[in-house]
Symmetry: C2
Subunit: 553 residues, 2 copies
Amino acid sequence: MQIGANYGADGRCVFAVWAPGRKRVELKLHGSEEAFIPLRGEDRGYWRVALENILPGALYTYRLDGRVERPDPASHSQPQGVHGPSQIVDHGDFSWQDDDWRGIEPSRMILYEFHPGTFTPEGSLDAVIPRLDALREMGINTLEIMPVSQFPGDRNWGYDGVYPFAVQSSYGGPRSLKRLVNACHERGMAVILDVVYNHLGPEGNYLRDFGPYFTDKYKTPWGQAINLDDAYSDEVRNFFIQNVLFWLSAYHLDGLRLDAVHALVDMSARPFLQELAETVGEYSRRTGKTHVLIAESDLNDARLIAPREAGGHGLDAQWCDDFHHSLHTLLTGETTGYYADFGRVRHLVRSLRDGFVYSGDYSTFRKRRHGNSAGERRADQFVVFAQNHDQVGNRLLGERLSQLVDFESLKLSIAVVLLSPFIPLLFMGEEYGDPAPFLYFVDHSDPDLVKAVRDGREEEFASFHWKGTVPDPVDRDTFLRSKVRWELREQGRHKTLLEFTKRLITLRRTIPALSHLSKEHLRVQGREEEKAIVMERRENTTGSRTLCIFNFN
Amino acid sequence: MQIGANYGADGRCVFAVWAPGRKRVELKLHGSEEAFIPLRGEDRGYWRVALENILPGALYTYRLDGRVERPDPASHSQPQGVHGPSQIVDHGDFSWQDDDWRGIEPSRMILYEFHPGTFTPEGSLDAVIPRLDALREMGINTLEIMPVSQFPGDRNWGYDGVYPFAVQSSYGGPRSLKRLVNACHERGMAVILDVVYNHLGPEGNYLRDFGPYFTDKYKTPWGQAINLDDAYSDEVRNFFIQNVLFWLSAYHLDGLRLDAVHALVDMSARPFLQELAETVGEYSRRTGKTHVLIAESDLNDARLIAPREAGGHGLDAQWCDDFHHSLHTLLTGETTGYYADFGRVRHLVRSLRDGFVYSGDYSTFRKRRHGNSAGERRADQFVVFAQNHDQVGNRLLGERLSQLVDFESLKLSIAVVLLSPFIPLLFMGEEYGDPAPFLYFVDHSDPDLVKAVRDGREEEFASFHWKGTVPDPVDRDTFLRSKVRWELREQGRHKTLLEFTKRLITLRRTIPALSHLSKEHLRVQGREEEKAIVMERRENTTGSRTLCIFNFN
């Protein structure tokens, strides 16, 4: 069942919503004459009505059992924010110019992660378009957008979204995202969107009024887990599977980054992630385009990206935190928090060879064995980075590497990422060593929630023993301070670093031994005392060979 | 680290206990001079001391941080019950007579499940020995003993055990189980023990005083889940893995039935069940004997019994509730509770072909899709039954089939089980149609707990709409009424049924088409209107063929 408000081929707008425990569901169309139109109850708790003469832009809500009035959980637009009415969007009225676009294979991707609110002064998706040529010119071919689903207030990292189908109004809403994706495709660039299926934000989440989207059985860092394996979980899954298909079809996105899949607790015989992967695989076959699913996971579990035949979930790739931690500790010497498990040359050597460092080894930080072997998984199934929104933003002062290490080390960090046999990801501004912090910011309206957020941040930092005061997440200035200073890329050392980054990407793209991602044609040796790593990469059909020497002294 | 109190080769007794949060752990040896002997803290929170001159039978407890005194979580014997001191057992002093015993392959097993307390008037493990010849004579070759781990009081199904390494004192304690196993092996019979790793009972569970055995992250029907994937879970797993090895080595058991593995919530990259299966596989290779792990699971997830190469956990077999429900509903016409998902001939046909009926199909009872395909799993990986302790005992009045259907239907029920291509299991007394109920009984001392148990039973029956009063679980008479009447097997129709059962087992063992368990050499057709099933089984090397016609009219 397709949920949300969608125009059919006959021009009628079909409203469909899942509310299995309700006896009555009515549609309220906002406007001059407010009327309540009953939806008809269908199988499995769905309610549905098809109406003529519904104009794009119309506002609506649902009334449940004649009492509770709520926006649509599958709303495509929330122009008045998370508590306001939902808005009808006609996805047929956009002139896509990307008919020939077929996507990019993961092995070719060079990812650039950005946060729409802080990447530009305007903080909109449209404002990114004028920067695309510069990004493409430096060799970036895939954007990764931090979550855009409607969240409370005007500023947020995006992980507090509560309308998974709606593009944040302060980012410019639905058309803004389409314009950006279209502009990327016109330039031969792919776009991946970060989506959050493990929880909904704490403000404006009305899902519980509609149905059992959550379960008491499992707890996550954000409270109750999403109900993926209990009664009614088929329909909860449908909500998120529809969401995946929605982003790929209505917005032409090339893939999704699945946030924190370790919090998708699921004991079912048919794992939700496997179902997602099958859905996207089927969609890619049908459309003849490449679409990717990339997981963020704290499990070091190679089954996520193993093929179905090997009992895996069949996702395309996953983020590799072990690579980051190995590199970060060698560069900074930090040893607190989860960095306690890293810090030796051999850690980075192992990650360069395999992906995971912890493959069943005992972790001091976790106080248990961690992970399983990634040995059988391909090199192009791991996304690696020296920086990302989490690793920068989840520091007390949100410092980028540019504020933690010297200039030569910055160059080294980018080199290790771009010369690695994995999929590289740069975090906005990293390419020129932007000095701005990436701080944690929210814009909640509930004072209790604001206090909870402040307390939560302090707790998060406890194991790191960082010194200083947590910048106030609610202060607008915390958000403004996090904006990158794009103009710096033309200046002094920033320009030097940018040229260095460009040069590395060119090497990566033009030398077969570097563009060919493979664990087999790779030799990595480390010297603990000299803090040095020697990595040889080969490509056999051309006979191409490269030798990279990384000196951490 | 081997936990518990174990004699070493040098005759010293090594006491080892895991208590990671404690600053001081002392051993108290009970007796004339009571002294506290300090244990030495070792890696990962273990405490250890090796002492000379410790006599078997000595009683001991641990004192934690000088304040809390507790029995040993890995106690081998609790002669004074769950709250009393632990007792030293010398496992070297038993004269095993089973040197040549190598075990029985699952495909040959004919299982007989019994509850030690109600199988004999004495209610002990020793009292079973005189019945072994009769069981063997009827063709039973494998006993399955309901849990024997020390539980509160003198009577319990066994799922409230709180000392996983101790044999219930009222069943006769450690030596009693050894005598029974030895007597079985002498007769060519294997013994499987039901073990409970998903929870501990509600009374006498002192594990929390020792360490984080439980986690808040997941809830099970019995409260907090066992900590299998969080900090310190390596040591929690070690407790249970040691337990598996203990039963196999100290008691010569041939395998374990793992209770309710769906409640072992585990998001780790290396699943606990996989670790268990590897441990037992390794032990079997080392000893040259067959040992089996059979799961009870509510997930219909064939990955439990799939091999490692296919991404499975590698358990040997699992109980197949779908087979029971299909058969039970055809025989009784019951449609309430979980029986709502069954009742048609096609259900039993599908189970006879595949094992699972629900392989991703929507379940009305569960309100979601259920299971995945068992198609690739061998026939000898499913244990089937027309009755077992749960299916009989979890009825309001604990009625066996003998009280629910007529005599011809009883014969039919046994025939379907014994002629199926799966591993058959009979429940004590089923072979002669014992009329005794198998009721739920406990012997707790805490009045609040007694009330909770009573309320819990009523709740459990709600979805079945059974009429009547729940027999009081605490009343000793409820226990006594559940004892089988072994003498009936020589009388009237009971004798007729027993002869029928024997005859079926003989057919199963002597006709190649029946003894050869295979899904490939099998054809099953059902006729819904006639309520009939035709099953053809073949064995190709001998050319043996059988045609079974089951008439449910």
